[in-house]
């Protein structure tokens, strides 16, 4: 059986990154791991698209970055959510919920149609 399609729809990667960063300062590798972890392995982040997305969000001002000493002893780049980023996260989450609800309604309707 084919593995279930777990590629992220476009544009949602940003949303997920912001959500993960909202939980506290985190570096790039950890973000990828955490997304995988929290979604119970349902989502697998295409690692190649993670870093361009991170840099884009940083340039837009939603994230700030700091080079701090990490647990491995090396310096790592830690991303943190800014106030602007927090606002963006809120509005994007609202959007997502609204879209998900609408899509859910339509799908339920289609289901009921199919059942009847």
């Amino acid at each position: 059986m084919d593995a279930p399609n777990t590629d992220l729809p476009q544009g949602t990667l940003d949303l997920l990154i912001l959500q993960v960063a909202a939980l506290g300062p985190v570096h790039g590798y950890a973000i990828a791991q955490r997304i995988q972890q929290i979604s119970r392995d349902a989502l697998r982040v295409q690692q190649g698209s993670l870093y361009p997305a991170l840099h884009r969000l940083e340039n837009k001002g939603f994230l700030t970055a700091d080079w701090k000493e990490s647990e491995t002893g090396r310096e790592a780049k830690f991303y943190k959510l800014t106030a602007k980023g927090r606002r963006q996260l809120q509005s994007e989450t609202e959007n997502w919920r609204r879209v998900a609800e609408a899509v859910g309604l339509i799908l339920r309707l289609a289901d009921e149609d199919a059942a009847s």
Binding site: Q46, H55, N59
Partner: protein, 874 residues
């Protein structure tokens, strides 16, 4: 970090990006090792998961948003390096560009100052000049656009379309007392002059609109130099023409008067002069025109409406100002005059009328030279681009976008164009200063503000960009449009010359040759025209003759006395007086009735000895004596006009009456040879000479001497000043004055000659470049031919035939274009027609000679090639 910050810290950000990605990989590897992989496997898997590292870095870079600027900077640096590596090409390219751009900018700057710039007054677009277009030489006029005082008064009273009508004239007046007298330029203005123009005072106040001020206004420049810009100058007295006047104010800086190339030192009110001399002819006689009249259009009045109004009231105004003392026929001419309003936002300019067509022509010439220079550069850069074909093909194959290659090629041309433009701007200032110095002369100092303003800068930038596009685009487009596979496979060369590939370069050379021919034809036309003028026998002698202008009004001396004194000086050969100097003076016409013929003739009143002093041979009859009255000596043109072939000696003619010149009978006692009189360019006029009656105010004399003129000048001036304090003497060598009248022709000859020579050299260099390039490309073919038995001369002939075709095509097109364009310059030429065949043949010969030289060198070099080397080389 802001965008600018990201731009400036590019290198640091790169390092950080690298560290970040490496950190990710280390963590991934560590995790995988913990999960049980061995280190090599773990590393491989981690790298695979991340994806192509360089591609990732590229995407992150693009996210920064500064990539295009960084690549541009990199390309510029690379272009600078490649240019530095071929110094000969770079220096030659920048020099030709600088010369071309500089020349264009200089001439454009002059045109801008003379033609395009508006007056520094309020709303210059509303200003118009009021003239009578059909007046020609009617009456006595300072120039053809002046009106009489009576007419100005009428216009001042009937000025419905205008919110103000002002008038002015310029005079040189002496200031200071007898011991320190010198001349300054005075503007005589109506009292509403400053108010209507909207000029503000820099100190004190300006003339009041309603009353007549008994004082003068200083020009800003004069105020700075004479009074050091001190405000105590206001209220002081200044002696003008022996009359003390009060200084009531200073005009704004930047306002130099209404005439573009002159500036006024003082402004005096005309109304005040009138109260001093109410019966002066200049105010009472309406056939004396000496005022330039300007008006400001009232709101709501367009120029057409103003003209309609003027046309309607003209008959009434002319009738109200009708002069006395003329015949009815002449007066009906006057009544038919119509006033007209012309736009005057750019002020009045004699330079404009005399030089504007020359300047436009020169702008065209320099534009064409720049075109040739750009064509040259295009060819050279195409050659360089072809040498780098393999490199471009490789880059295209690896994945560079065509846009990127175009950007890189354009950067080189951008650098060249920008450097050329900057140097050209500096050169432009030098060139325009020298052209102005050329046009300047001590009598008539020009003060043209040829500065660098935004219009000139925009022009330079536009020209530079056009150049860049012209010679940079072709190689850039060619670079990006190649099929990389073909190029790499063929090794970048072909065995035979692919004529299609060279056609663009050949076309460029043909264009260069034809444009050069046009320029050479132009140069030859102007140089020959100037030479015709220089070698023209004007009919009189100018070498060793001085022109003396002596003002006796303040010296209480009689003309006869001064004349005798000069005659008595040692080393003076002869002296004669006249009422008009030849060539440089004005002209006086009177109607003449001789037998059945009614026409007009020019008149000059001279003293005895006039013809001998100027070496004008008397063909018949005799010269004047001191006792002669009512006799005349006429020139051949006069005889032809009034008497045909008959002998005129002893016949009489009568002048037609005019104010101050009652009808007089003259008996002809001599015939003198024709001379050029008013202008060397104009055809010969009928001229009658009559004995001069004494004038104790003002004296014009020719002084002839074989001694060095400089010493004579100082001797005469010193002697006369000693004998008659208060006398004003001006002396100039005659030859110098004639040269001044030829300035325009000399300017055209010099500049067009210079640019013509430059164009020929550039075309030759271009031809050399292309032929050399083609010969190199055909090396294999030529090697094969020589190996098969072609002689050296046959190879040369082969290459030369190619060149001859190009030159022939260019010469043909050039001749056709030159013939078409030459007629536009017809008015500036003297003594030859614009389609003069000798000039064209000479031009083609010059071009052919230079082209042969340019093509022979590479042909010769190609023929001395060792066939084996030619075949082997890649």
């Amino acid at each position: 970090m802001t965008w600018l910050g990201r731009l400036l810290h590019g290198r640091r950000l790169e390092a950080k990006l690298d560290a970040e990605l490496r950190d990710h990989i280390e963590r991934a590897v560590a995790d995988k090792i913990r999960a049980g992989r061995n280190p090599a496997q773990a590393r491989r898997e981690a790298l695979l998961q991340l994806g192509g590292l360089e591609g990732l870095k590229e995407e992150c870079r693009e996210a920064r948003g500064t990539v295009w600027l960084e690549s541009l900077a990199r390309d510029l640096r690379f272009a600078a390096r490649t240019l530095r590596l071929s110094p000969a090409f770079t220096v030659a390219a920048i020099c030709t560009l600088a010369l071309g751009i500089g020349a264009n900018t200089a001439i454009f700057g002059l045109l801008d100052a003379v033609r395009l710039r508006s007056l520094p007054v309020q709303h210059p677009g509303q200003l118009v000049q009021i003239v009578i277009p059909e007046k020609n030489g009617w009456g006595v006029s300072q120039n053809e656009n002046t009106l009489s005082y009576a007419l100005w008064q009428q216009l001042h009273d009937h000025h419905r379309p205008f919110s103000g009508v002002l008038a002015w004239t310029d005079r040189d007046v002496p200031i200071g007392d007898i011991t320190r007298m010198r001349r300054v330029r005075a503007s005589l203005v109506t009292s509403n002059f400053f108010h209507t123009l909207g000029v503000q005072p820099a100190a004190g106040r300006l003339f009041r609109d309603d009353t007549c001020d008994a004082g003068v206004v200083l020009g800003y420049g004069f105020w700075q130099t004479e009074y050091g810009g001190s405000s105590s100058a206001v209220g002081r007295r200044i002696v003008i023409d022996n009359i003390p006047m009060e200084i009531i104010g200073v005009s704004a800086p930047g306002f130099h008067g209404l005439e573009v190339e002159h500036q006024f030192d003082v402004a005096a009110p005309i109304c005040w002069l009138r109260t001093m001399q109410p019966t002066n002819d200049w105010f009472t006689r309406s056939d004396l025109s000496w005022l330039t009249v300007l008006a400001r259009r009232a709101p709501g009045w367009s120029i057409e409406q103003a003209n309609d109004y003027l046309r309607a009231i003209s008959p009434g105004l002319m009738q109200a100002t009708i002069p006395t003392g003329y015949s009815t026929q002449v007066l009906s001419q006057y009544r038919a005059f119509r006033l007209q309003a012309k736009p005057a936002a750019n002020g009045i300019s004699r330079l404009r009328t005399r030089y504007s067509s020359s300047l436009y022509l020169l702008l065209g010439v320099t534009g064409l030279v720049l075109l040739i220079a750009c064509a040259n550069l295009a060819n050279l850069m195409l050659a360089r681009a072809s040498a780098r074909q393999r490199e471009f093909a490789l880059r295209l194959a690896i994945g560079a976008s065509g846009r990127r290659l175009i950007q890189q090629s354009l950067c080189e041309s951008l650098l060249l164009a920008a450097t050329g433009a900057v140097l050209g701007a500096a050169l432009a200032r030098l060139l325009s200063m020298s052209i102005l110095a050329f046009l300047n002369n001590a009598d008539d100092p020009l003060t043209l503000a040829v500065g660098v303003d935004w219009r000139v800068l925009a022009f330079i930038a536009g020209v530079a960009i056009a150049c860049c596009v012209l010679f940079g685009l072709a190689p850039a487009l060619r670079a990006s449009r190649m099929d990389p596979g073909d190029t790499i496979r063929s090794g970048g060369r072909g065995l035979t010359a692919a004529h299609a590939r060279f056609s663009f370069q050949r076309a460029l050379v043909v264009v260069q040759v034809s444009v050069s021919l046009v320029l050479v034809v132009g140069a030859l036309l102007f140089v020959r025209s100037f030479r015709n003028l220089l070698t023209l026998d004007p009919g009189f002698r100018s070498k060793g003759v001085l022109l003396a202008t002596i003002d006796l009004s303040h010296a209480h001396a009689r003309e006869k006395t001064v004349l005798d004194e000069i005659r008595g000086m040692p080393r003076i050969d002869s002296v004669a007086t006249t009422t008009n100097f030849v060539v440089t003076g004005g002209m006086w016409h009177l109607g003449v009735h001789a037998g059945a013929v009614l026409n007009s003739s020019a008149f000059t009143w001279v003293s005895p000895g006039h013809f001998a002093t100027l070496d004008m041979p008397l063909l018949a009859g005799r010269d004047f004596t001191d006792r002669d009255r009512n006799v005349a000596i006429v020139n051949q043109a006069f005889v032809r006009r009034f008497f045909g072939d008959a002998n005129p000696i002893g016949r009489t003619f009568r002048t037609i009456t005019e104010p101050n010149y009652p009808a007089t009978d003259y008996q002809i006692i001599g015939v003198v040879k024709d001379t050029r009189y008013f202008d060397l360019h104009s055809p010969i006029e009928a001229m009658a000479y009559a004995p001069q009656t004494s004038n104790d105010d003002y004296m014009l004399a020719y002084i002839r001497s074989s001694a060095p003129l400089g010493s004579i000048i100082s001797e005469v001036r010193e002697r006369l000043s000693r004998l008659h304090p208060g006398i004003a003497v001006e002396l100039h060598p005659f030859r110098q004055q004639i040269d001044i009248s030829l300035t325009r022709d000399r300017l055209m000859a010099a500049l067009s000659g210079f640019f013509g020579a430059l164009a020929v050299i550039l075309a030759a260099v271009g031809l050399y470049g292309v032929i050399a390039y083609i010969a190199v490309r055909r090396q294999n073919e030529l090697g094969i031919r020589m190996a098969l038995g072609a002689t050296r001369s046959e190879v040369i002939a082969l290459v030369m035939k190619d060149a001859a075709l190009l030159v022939g095509a260019g010469a043909f097109i050039g001749t056709v274009c030159a013939a078409a364009l030459a007629s536009t310059a017809a008015s500036l030429l003297f003594g030859l027609r614009p389609r003069d065949p000798i000039t064209y043949i000479a031009a083609i010969a010059v071009l052919a000679a230079v082209a042969v030289l340019g093509a022979w060198i590479p042909a010769h070099r190609a023929s001395r090639l060792d066939p084996m080397t030619a075949l082997r080389c890649d």
